[in-house]
Subunit: 263 residues, 2 copies
């Protein structure tokens, strides 16, 4: 979308939704979300964006895997030795990956089957102790953009309002310490804004100017979610321009390998 | 700082400040900012964070360079041929860099003298046409953390309130399309939050969990600034926990080269 069709807001409000129940496979997230909003006396409005933590989307979609059911391959056993990770976790990481990009201490950077380059294929391992027989690991949703679109459609069906939906997750970055929220799935809000053709204050043309709007939203919402638990996995963002479904989504944020200098 | 000392807010409000004048070398940003806040009827409060676009800090500090004064070296001429960039701009980029990390079409990824790995050493080139005799280029501040700290001290002197200050800039990333706001200089707000030792809802220990809080703030503020002009280069963030000057700063967000798999 061109930035002129999506002017920067002068005020933005972010509200973390409390009181969402613990999510399990099969839960209807949209209905739970609408109940939660009603209890808080919050109304959805056009231009609102609902940011959901990947964890609850993955859980609702049944992506929690019992490690006891995973049999590590020879390759997983080798990588587990090199990284100090649980071999069953490594097997899951490899099963989610198209390619291994780098291997470091306790980390395997992969190109995920969805195209994202990230540590450990986004498999949540915070709770996995090596060899633990009761351990589980949570995989990314099968298709986060489809999940976002479906949540957007369900929310519209339940409330009559077409909001934007972003599914975010906290990932590390090259060159910088600390995780930040990234947009994994996006619907109904521009993932990328194109400033090409726009001019600066002196009337000169801007170049090379695509803005990762959905990533900025994902990072902003992450400030309210905290990372330690599931306490506040949903953030409502108010103040963006309304109704700009330009068809860009989480996949639009992927830099094609041919243009990428770092894999 | 430990996350327990800086709980995630349940509401966050971001307000873009209008009406800041065009900034030139020598301007007193803190005074201009306080005037601007007063005109808007906005009061600073403890726990507020002021996010300023790098451009205005650099301009106030006299970092605008006339390209006509720059004589490109042989190395700059060579890199200019390979990248299609103005040789004088390349000279400035090299003068700001410790090392060239990658060279691509129209882009030179460097390790900046400040340690950041970024495109074109952060030298703003949106307005530079090759060979233009009147062109200028804007370099990053000499020491953005010192600039942030000095702005924080000046704002405290003028208002009595010690806020957090983040200087942000929009940079591209490895693997992902679109620029997002990054924290360049930080004072008075934790740049990195350490979740180590914190437990999840089931009481299990979290690992590998440092959050790039200042980068998330920088990205959030960027949503309101727009990227096309200087119209709204200051964003006030309200709702964070008050007064946590833990000594981390923009430099804390740099991943040491020895731990970095991507340079």
């Amino acid at each position: 979308l061109a930035a002129s069709d999506f002017p920067a807001p002068s005020r933005l409000e972010l509200i973390a939704l409390p009181g969402l129940p613990h999510i399990v496979a099969g839960d209807d997230l949209a209905s739970l979300l609408v109940d939660c909003l009603r209890r808080q006396g919050l109304m959805l409005d056009r231009g609102n964006v609902v940011v959901l933590a990947q964890k609850i989307v993955s859980k609702a979609e049944g992506r929690l895997i019992a490690l006891a059911d995973v049999v590590p391959s020879a390759r997983a056993l080798d990588l587990a030795r090199r990284t100090g990770k649980d071999p069953r976790l490594v097997e899951l990481i490899l099963s989610e990956a198209k390619a291994v990009v780098r291997v470091g201490p306790e980390v395997i950077i992969v190109e995920h089957r969805l195209g994202f380059v990230l540590a450990n294929a986004g498999v949540d391992q915070s709770n996995v102790n090596v060899g633990d027989q009761n351990a589980t690991a949570l995989l990314l949703p099968i298709n986060p953009d489809a999940s976002a679109r479906s949540l957007r459609d369900e929310l519209a069906r339940l409330t009559g309002i077409r909001v934007g939906v972003v599914i975010n997750d906290s990932w590390g970055r090259a060159w910088r310490r600390g995780t930040i929220g990234h947009a994994l799935g996006v619907a109904g809000v521009p993932a990328l804004l194109n400033l090409r053709g726009r001019t600066d204050l002196l009337g000169r043309q801007l170049r090379n100017t695509e803005v990762g709007l959905a990533d900025e939203l994902a990072a902003a919402a992450s400030l309210l979610m905290g990372q330690a638990d599931e306490g506040r996995p949903v953030v409502l963002v108010r103040g963006l321009p309304a109704g700009s479904d330009d068809g860009t989504n989480g996949a639009s944020l992927l830099r094609p390998a041919a243009e990428d200098l770092f894999r």
